[in-house]
Point group: C2
Chain length 768, copies 2
């Protein structure tokens, strides 16, 4: 059964009952972050129940030695792990002589809220300790967007039935571990522990990668809302710094600790400045005060929501779901730093490791293009451009030559760090997504200059890869691509995956088109690139031989492209005929049984048709949708959104809505029974696409203009979304009878709605 | 480069130069064993250079927790590891105050010999210690075949240039580890250390599996060949027992220690008898004395060689190679215990783990049938019969029903213990080998009764597996078998592997034939089995639908069966065109590149044609050989033998000889650069087949009689082999002009030689 304990609310994620069984799931769901750092919603005080402690700093990682059962040539030596970072949130709490631990006391009036409108996390409860003391606790926590190296906590305790002593012991701890460490190695070395009055810092570095990090805290206290000074006792240990403060309270008194924390790292500072910088940060934020940090936070989120909010009327759970997705995406990545990217779990867990998958190009770029200024998507593209050399090295390791590039399946710094041969070596369609990301960006922004400046080198290296990776089949008299895994990972080492072959052909053709255009329009860049890459006309001629003669498996009987060679040898039994007891098949069936079944994990042929929808007729789309969707189990978080969009585009609104519900509340309702490990961040961008591209039917059409084909699920009264387009903001509101466009910009915008061209002028409404 | 340091000799493996680089390889090559226990040829004295310490007891294993990078549903929790057993051979040696360690002293006149005729290992050398003492050392060691729980060492030291003190410290040690432990766990618990005058015992058990083992030693001493009594100092530690004996010597004196060792285990004794039994063993063997143990050993080996020797005249390296193969096979398995089997490395290393692969049925059974009484091969079959329930459980784990069995890829006790999805779940052709082993045995021995008594239950369970594993392809209008790995492991997760499909069809047909015959001839057994298995006529009818309509990929253009669907999409470039620098491809190429190449690791289509040669015309064999052999890289130890046999059968003697040389000296010349890990024991049976079935052309033909088609490589003067057939011994000697048959039996034997039936009478020669 899916979980169902989150209280529906338009702007907040709320939990109203404390249940130890939900603690880890809530730690994921209530995570907070600011794009540069983030953390799971772990309790500040001690908790002896099941928990996954996690604080993360963007760009700080550890290359964990690869662990496999059977080594295959080509595996990387290391797997770049998202690092659990030093803990700055912790506060041990004692009431008289008893430790506060929700796992060992009676909890009432529990309430936890993640306020997405303003960007903070709160918790309140009444706890009755084993020793009888009753307290009311209220906490609030934020990770500041404005001051992006800083977080703050307000933690209040009211003595309900006793007079006595409340002890706060805030601490910093670098003795943290990663749960998924391959060899139980320790990833951090503590270099220095610096103490001071109400403040302190631990200076540490990651082993191997030698990232240096300063982690600081500063604390202050209130009694019944009045500042007080409290005596400090210091415990300085090898990997931790703990201060102890005892506050005498009378029954009814409220004692409060304010704790400010900061991370600074050698990504942004000289090593010798780190201790001072961290201490300055907590000093400054303490001076600002908790309330002022909250005010700044609200302003930051106001700005974000202004250009990205989606409003759904008549379906509060759908409203909560879509805002949760948008909120988490923004917490994970804000686009200000081209060295960062969007990890599959963001700052909500450590699973999978690496920070970058093809999800970024295939799912996240549209979201960031659609909700932020175009430099953000550009930063995501530059991330790959900056790693091109590593992608070429990676391809060389696998036997490719002459500057061919294979971008890694999973990476942190450009090096491959995944180690499953059927994925690492064979899920090469990811290379196509790299080029599609560029195409999509240029198409949407009309920033063609990106190609001669950066994109073309990537595109050439990838065209070279496809040219070398295909081989000529004398038997078929066509070029084939053997031994791949498509987006549908429930098939491995197959031949002629439609999606992969299609992307390969398209990449080559796009490369040649770009080359021609750059040659004419940017001759200087053209010459520079030709010199750098040693590209000849003969080589591109050979590329085109592959593209022109690419093989695509096709069934005449079913009149559809086949996912791969031999697909029709399978027994085609629709998912609806599978007993519930056998699902999800990835938990119930052995791997070989999954592989030889017809069941599809996520869109594969349909993923291709989604990316290149304009190349297929509506008839074709319908035929392929009707052939593949019934045998798709959607056991990837990336599956329902694409199906929702395609279903809407062929006017199958009930199916579109069904898949939308699944994608938008995937984590909130824990469809895949794994949210305790972290949220599915990248698929959240797909949820956004389900609204904008699916129900809104938004496409970029000829000359890079927008078209819309709005539809509305019968379950909703109306919905509205906001699109950033050429750095103007277009708001689209759809209800069952009309669609209203409103432009917050400076220039008229021509858009196409259901085949009719209309003009939207700045600050006016247009109704269709 | 291959290694080339073994001195050619007809009956011995000899090494004449001490080179630290060869120590680990020699430890493997010079291994000794008696089918029940065995050990690498580790030095008795301390050695600080690179070494792999290894002593092994047949049937004693440890289930090591599975280690993989990415878990796949269906993986077993444990991998049964061959256990490094307590060390009984060790003797620390001090000359005056200096430790003897070949890694730290000057070594001259080094000679190591593994005498295969008599079954012992010797070593002699002159060592000059850092402190100047010069000594001459002579050692001899054996593992007794007659007393199969006992081994003995004679270790002599002559003081060449000094008078002083020689200290012998013989010890027992249970503090041993497995190098390939997955989690660096310790596998043994020491329960008791028992000391005594010149003898002692350590009683220990394996963790988890709780095998209890007694390991004992007894020592005695000689000075210049006269018995002496020496004072004993005892050091008893938690996991070891060491005695120290100091002997005063004058220059020219020789001091000798005799050390007898014994393993006894709870496989054969009550636990509370083990200490006594082990001590009795060393007491008794010490009473017999080292020389008498050597005499017994020679007699045991005389008997073995009498029925299994192969004599090659004119090619001393080939002679040495084949005897080494026969010798190691007999050291590994003697067929007296149906609980044991033939591990891929025998008692020469710990790699791979498990004791049983399909190698036993496909390669080893012919050797043991051909060189020993028929009960030995029967014991190998019973091993699988006794594990049928586990094979059914294994199939259930993968979703099969109704008593279908899948025998494990690797096992110790019948449970699967391998964990590579493409092998564990997909290399299912092994199931066919189980049935083929039975067919082969019955055919050779005419012991059809084995079928109703034992074999049929196995055959039914496997027919059920194939019936369920195949599925009907509406597209092909045939039954197909999807997602398999054939014998050629350089292809994974392929469809319609010819070999697998062929065996599946054959297994079903053989099952139905056996059922019919048992019904008529053994009606009581038939009823018992039908009741036990709930087999119905309808079920076998459905089996036959699969067998009758099995799909086989075939190329009209090349007029050959294809290894799998889509094979002709590959670029077919012969191995001869591959630069040497790219070979072996399993070390030079990434795994995906190997997979999509045409290169074949070991016989696959040809393996099927080898097993069922009578079903294919010579034309067909030639066509398939010419198609597949040129793209075969023979990077499996099991490959050259099959190709040698097939080449001989189509009169390609140069190719047959080339492949024979490769198989027979695979380990001695270290073709695969890995002999340091242990020898390739099971492929050694293939080498034997290369002579008997290859050059001798021996086949079992109609009515279970033998036929021969002898040929001789031009490199040899003559060769001779001995065949056990229906418990009579037939010696076949071939030279370039004639073949001589000699029968050591009681009944005439009719054989067919080159299409001519001849009769060989007992104790007479027949020349053809």
């Amino acid at each position: 059964m899916n979980k169902n304990y989150i209280v529906p609310n338009e702007w907040s994620i709320i939990e109203e009952v404390f249940d130890a069984k939900n603690v880890m799931a809530s730690e994921s769901l209530f995570s907070i972050g600011n794009g540069a750092m983030g953390q799971r919603a772990n309790f500040e005080e001690d908790y002896s129940g099941e928990t996954l402690q996690g604080s993360y700093i963007g760009g700080i990682y550890y290359p964990d030695k690869t662990r496999v059962g059977w080594w295959k040539n080509g595996y990387p030596e290391y797997f770049a792990k998202v690092l659990n970072a030093p803990n700055w949130i912790g506060i041990h709490i004692q009431i008289n002589s008893t430790n506060l631990d929700l796992n060992t006391c009676k909890v009432a009036n529990f309430r936890k809220e993640l306020n997405m409108k303003e960007g903070w996390l709160s918790r309140s409860f009444i706890a009755t300790l084993k020793t009888g003391e009753e307290i009311e606790v209220k906490t609030k926590r934020l990770i500041s967007i404005e001051l992006n190296e800083v977080g703050a906590i307000e933690y209040s305790i009211k003595a309900l039935n006793f007079s006595g002593e409340i002890t706060f012991s805030p601490y910093l701890d670098t003795g943290i571990i990663n749960e998924d460490s391959n060899y139980d190695e320790y990833f951090w070395e503590t270099l220095k522990v610096v103490e001071g009055k109400n403040k302190g810092c631990i200076y540490s570095k990651t082993l191997k990668t030698e990232f240096h990090v300063g982690t600081a805290m500063k604390v202050s206290f209130l009694l019944n809302n009045k500042d007080i000074d409290v005596d400090q006792k210091t415990k300085k240990e090898e990997k931790s710094l703990t201060y102890t403060y005892k506050i005498k309270v009378l029954e009814g008194d409220t004692a409060t600790i304010l704790k400010y924390g900061s991370y600074v790292s050698s990504l942004n500072y000289n090593k010798n400045e780190l201790i001072e910088a961290a201490l300055n940060n907590v000093h400054d934020s303490s001076n600002l005060g908790f309330q002022e940090l909250l005010n700044l936070q609200k302003k930051s989120w106001d700005k974000i929501w202004h250009s990205s909010d989606i409003i759904i009327e008549g379906d509060i759970k759908a409203q909560q779901g879509i805002r949760f997705n948008i909120f988490q995406l923004n917490q994970t990545y804000l686009g200000t730093d081209a060295r960062l990217n969007i990890g599959p779990k963001g700052f909500t867990g450590e699973k999978y490791g690496g920070s970058t998958y093809w999800d970024t190009e295939a799912y996240c770029i549209p979201f960031y293009m659609g909700t932020k200024k175009s430099n953000v998507a550009k930063n995501l593209l530059l991330y790959r451009y900056n790693q091109l050399d590593k992608a070429i090295e990676n391809a060389e390791k696998l036997g490719f030559k002459n500057g061919a590039a294979l971008y890694p399946m999973v990476t942190m710094n450009g090096e491959e760090c995944h180690n499953e041969w059927e994925i690492t070596f064979e899920e090469i369609h990811r290379n196509g997504a790299m080029v599609y990301g560029i195409y999509n960006y240029v198409n949407y922004t009309q920033d063609f200059e990106y190609i001669p400046k950066f994109g073309l080198e990537v595109i050439i290296a990838i065209a070279r890869f496809w040219h070398q990776r295909a081989n000529f089949s004398a038997d078929k008299n066509k070029y084939v691509i053997l031994g791949v895994t498509g987006p549908n990972e429930y098939e491995n080492n197959i031949n002629n995956n439609f999606y992969t072959n299609y992307l390969a052909k398209w990449c080559i053709e796009y490369a040649v088109n770009c080359l021609n255009k750059v040659k004419q329009e940017f001759p200087k860049d053209f010459n520079r690139i030709i010199e750098k890459t040693n590209l000849t006309g003969e080589e591109t001629f050979n590329w085109l031989k592959v593209a022109d003669n690419m093989y695509f498996p096709f069934s005449k009987k079913h009149n559809v492209y086949l996912q791969q060679d031999g697909f029709l040898d399978k027994e085609l039994i629709p998912v609806s005929k599978l007993p519930n007891s056998e699902r999800p098949i990835n938990q119930k069936w052995s791997w070989d049984r999954i592989l030889r079944s017809c069941y599809i994990k996520q869109a594969d042929v349909l993923q291709g048709m989604y990316l290149f929808e304009d190349k297929f007729s509506k008839d074709e789309l319908e035929r392929h949708f009707d052939f593949y969707e019934p045998i798709t189990v959607h056991e990837s978080s990336l599956s329902p959104c694409v199906h929702s969009i395609l279903a809407a585009s062929i006017d199958r609104m009930p199916k579109a809505y069904e898949q939308y519900v699944r994608t938008s509340r995937l984590d909130l309702d824990d469809y895949n029974h794994e949210v305790d490990e972290g949220c599915h961040i990248t698929s959240m961008a797909g949820t956004w696409m389900s609204i904008v591209q699916g129900f809104g039917g938004m496409r970029v059409c000829e000359k890079g203009n927008l078209s819309f084909k709005p539809q509305i699920p019968k379950e909703w009264n109306s919905y509205a979304f906001t699109i950033n387009f050429r750095n103007q903001t277009l708001k689209v509101k759809v209800n069952s009878s009309e669609t209203i466009f409103e432009l917050d910009g400076s220039k008229d915008l021509k858009i196409k709605v259901e085949n009719k061209i209309i003009t939207v002028s700045p600050n006016s409404l247009v109704t269709v």
